[in-house]
Chain length 212, copies 2
């Protein structure tokens, strides 16, 4: 297909497609004349992936490049999901040293109980968790941290379902891509379902008028 059709199929404007080509996020099409090229279904799919990563995942283009590099490389699906997670994690919010130390000790203890390798420095997921728990501590709301084991047990069930969904696919490329989709869209979908469920559960329990 030509550039115009590629743009229409993917829903990405022509100027943006050209920008992605220049930045190397989209591989070049097959040249048919000095100023025309032919694009394939693979180009449409790549553009849709970039759209999902930027619009749903909120990733900056530099992170999109890192994720696409991992997809195209020799990484296992496990390693690719790791790259996606790190890029999605962004920059953790700043917290006080005292609260950060409290949260780090909590998570180190937690990791020990679950038999994990503890490598907080190079892992943005852990950095984000520490920052979120430290913020709760600063606010005087340790109640979430008190139930960390219960939340983690449920997170394990969700992750098992994630991996089951991804490995149910037959082609290796599909599995790699599904891992990415499960991470970027899966976070958004589960958070949405949790909010719907909170509305459902809390209506009865927390729907009484205030008596303060």
């Amino acid at each position: 297909m030509r550039m115009a059709e590629l743009s229409a199929e993917s829903g990405v404007p022509v100027a943006t497609v050209k920008y992605y080509l220049r930045e190397g996020l989209l591989p070049p099409g097959e040249r048919t004349s000095p100023n025309q090229a032919r694009y394939s279904a693979a180009h449409v799919q790549r553009l849709r992936l970039i759209k999902a990563l930027t619009e749903v995942g909120g990733l900056p283009l530099a992170s999109v490049g890192a994720v696409l590099g991992a997809i195209d490389g020799d990484e296992t699906p496990h390693e690719t999901m790791g790259v996606v997670q790190q890029e999605l994690a962004g920059t953790p919010p700043k917290v006080s040293d005292e609260a950060a130390e409290w949260a780090t000790a909590l998570l180190r203890d937690f990791a020990g109980r679950h038999g994990w390798k503890w490598h907080p420095a190079e892992n943005k997921t852990t950095g984000n968790l520490i920052a979120a728990l430290a913020t709760a501590k600063e606010l005087g709301h340790e109640e979430l941290a008190d139930r960390l084991d219960e939340y983690f047990a449920l997170a394990m069930r969700v992750a098992e379902l994630d991996v089951e969904v991804v490995t149910g696919l037959t082609s290796f490329d599909k599995i790699i891509e599904a891992g990415l989709v499960a991470t970027v869209l899966g976070d958004r979908i589960f958070t949405g379902l949790r909010h719907l469920a909170q509305e459902f559960v809390s209506r009865e329990v927390l729907g009484r008028a205030p008596s303060r």
Copy 2:
């Protein structure tokens, strides 16, 4: 305490504190002279809440104002959590009409099976879910949508734990605030735990070298 101490205690710069006072996000202190005021522990806590909402929740200041308004008003904790959810939801990404219709039908059917009132227009959570499911469909990855009931069953367990954590507190004001913390920080914490769990679960299953 004076302004300087308020800033040090909360970790919010003086210029920012003054800006929040002008914008009405922070109630004025008690005047002690024409150009001095005294602030209380409640001011420190309010500043920490604003920090959590902006830095962890990523909310713009207009949304922070809406959330604080709900906290200060006569809303029940259930209603307050609803306001927080809507403000956190942001603007759903754009998707094609065809994919949006597919996702809307899927979710309407889902809501019917779970006995929910269906009001997608005024609910940003539903709008976001539709957009995320539609994006998965556009990418040719319906596998997440196929397991929606299983994901929702787990989301219900998480929401039950959320509500249990919040209602375990004794003071009404604490419950309102905990609902906010559980929503803003809870999303971040659960997503982090899910990513850790994915790493754990997928190492065995998806850690093989690619064979494509």
